[in-house]
């Protein structure tokens, strides 16, 4: 059976070159970078420094502005809580978009509990934040604005350059979560006035368990992890040396090759989009053109998301859904079954949200795989509709000209 991985937004396969670069630091070189007097520690320290340079180069930063973390969640937590902490007691107000990741949204919980004001900015039907709305929302006590670069669920690329101009004008710290986009489309801190940028290695063919936060020199950020003096004091704890080496190598590969990947993925994405556009009652989500390469997201009426995923999986196609019923399968009870906040934010009715699918392609995918998805989907949708009472009612209504 075919094995088609169309879920790169959740994670990407490790590039074999990354694994090769990591191996010596899982075997031969096990030193602690803090013990840099001896040969073992020295080798690890040099490897971490090299990786810092490679990650910095990916986004046009200086090496000393890159702090390694355990991943995007930790980076987003550090950015949000650290920025509020660093801005002092007079500035507690945070502005975020409605479509931020849980690791930004839920980092606001302790701030709210402490009485900190939060403004959540709505997005339009394509999922775009309005920079003018950011301007209006900024107050004298605003500590932070956080807007993601690209949304993983609907693929939309946000106008972060324009938002950054507004925050810069007002002297407000600006955080950009670039987890879904970094290593895929250009993001350069010399052009985008972001003060904090979240990166995740496993989203661009690096290993899991390692990420980074870019902290612009001069930005005032409080630490969230307390201990030794690693990572310029922002992130205590012995470094994940093999992971960091892997992230550095993945960043270097992306710097050289992402342009070619994007060309390939834009072509495949277009093929997939055009191939399924004819399915009746299918609605694409996200911005039609300003979106991640190889990212195709949509919802279909009268077919539930988890059932779509199960049938796709039976055909060997692995995809994701914003469906309430599939996204929280490991939840504790029904209360955990909530339709995707992103889909609600762009105005998809909650009883219909359940039929949403995200196909996210990667550099290894082929035209043949896209053809398999294009030929499988209409039949799967038909099969589910054939047993849906809502579709039966819809057909009767249509037949009556209603």
């Amino acid at each position: 059976m075919a094995k088609v991985f169309f879920d790169h937004i959740s994670t990407t396969p490790l590039d074999p070159r990354v694994l090769s670069a990591m191996m010596p630091y899982l075997t031969e070189w096990y030193g602690n970078p803090s013990s840099h007097i001896h040969e073992q520690g020295q080798a690890s320290l040099r490897a971490v420094d090299r990786a810092r340079g490679e990650v910095a180069a990916l986004i046009g930063a200086r090496p000393q502005e890159v702090v390694f973390t355990s991943g995007a969640t930790e980076s987003n937590n550090l950015a949000v809580l650290g920025a509020v902490d660093g801005s002092g007691p007079a500035k507690r107000h945070v502005i975020v978009s409605e479509v931020e990741h849980f690791s930004v949204m839920n980092a606001l919980i302790p701030l709210r509990n402490a009485g900190g004001p939060v403004t959540v900015l709505p997005v339009d039907r394509d999922g775009l934040v309005d920079p003018a709305a950011v301007r209006k929302a900024i107050r004298p006590d605003t500590a932070l604005v956080s807007v993601m670069h690209a949304n993983s669920e609907i693929g939309t690329i946000e106008p972060v350059e324009e938002v950054g101009k507004v925050t810069r004008e007002h002297g407000v710290t600006f955080h950009v979560d670039a987890t879904a986009s970094a290593g895929h489309i250009p993001f350069d801190v010399r052009e985008i006035p972001a003060d904090l940028v979240t990166l995740s290695a496993h989203n661009f063919y690096g290993p899991k368990g390692v990420g980074a936060l870019y902290i612009r020199e001069g930005a005032k950020i409080g630490a969230r992890t307390f201990g030794g003096f690693q990572e310029m004091g922002y992130r205590a704890g012995t470094e994940n040396v093999p992971g960091i080496v892997g992230m550095g190598t993945a960043a270097a590969i992306a710097s050289a090759e992402a342009g070619a990947w994007a060309g390939h993925l834009n072509r495949l994405g277009r093929m997939l989009w055009d191939g399924i556009a004819g399915i009746p009652l299918l609605h694409f989500t996200g911005h039609p053109s300003n979106r991640l390469p190889g990212h195709v997201s949509f919802w279909v009426e009268h077919a539930e998301g988890e059932s779509l995923l199960l049938f796709l999986n039976i055909r060997g196609i692995m995809a994701a859904s914003g469906s309430a019923c599939s996204s929280n399968l490991r939840g504790h009870d029904e209360e955990d079954l909530v339709a995707s906040p992103v889909l609600r934010a762009i105005g998809v009715p909650s009883d219909i949200c359940t039929g949403s699918i995200t196909f996210s392609l990667g550099k290894g995918n082929t035209e043949e795989e896209v053809r398999l998805a294009v030929s499988s989907l209409p039949e799967i949708v038909e099969r589910l509709r054939a047993m849906s009472p809502t579709y039966l009612d819809y057909q009767k209504q249509t037949a009556q000209g209603g």
């Binding site: 009268h302 077919a303 539930e304 998301g305 988890e306 059932s307 199960l310 049938f311 999986n313 039976i314 469906s323 309430a324 019923c325 599939s326 929280n328 399968l329 490991r330 939840g331 504790h332 009870d333 029904e334 955990d336 079954l337 339709a339 909650s350 009883d351 219909i352 949200c353 359940t354 039929g355 589910l384 054939a386 047993m387 849906s388 009472p389 809502t390 579709y391 039966l392």
Partner: protein, 128 residues
Amino acid sequence: MAAGPYSAKVMDHFMNPRNVGEIEGADGIGEVGNPACGDMMRLYLKIEDGRVVDARFRTFGCGAAIASSSMLTEMIKGKTVEEAREITNHSVAEALDGLPAVKIHCSVMAEQAVKSALDDYGKKHPGQ
């Protein structure tokens, strides 16, 4: 084939659902649903001499919802109205070799569909 959180039996009923469709002139029709979670079930029963002789369903929902509906129609056929009323979500889930904790409500939907269809039958056939 078991898949993800589902037993082989759930997947069998999901991929090859039994008794999908409608019954013309059904003696009892039950409709239950939870639009927030996006599942909805319609159950059609044909009842002769106080016994369920045919059952059909249409369901919009996840794998567990479709499998529970399918299993329910198999379980209910041949039962008397009284016996049918005793079908619980636990018996449906058990017949499917279990459901993940967050999916138990899908089998509850099946139980409620039976009650709803039998109530409808009671209204249409008073005194039976």
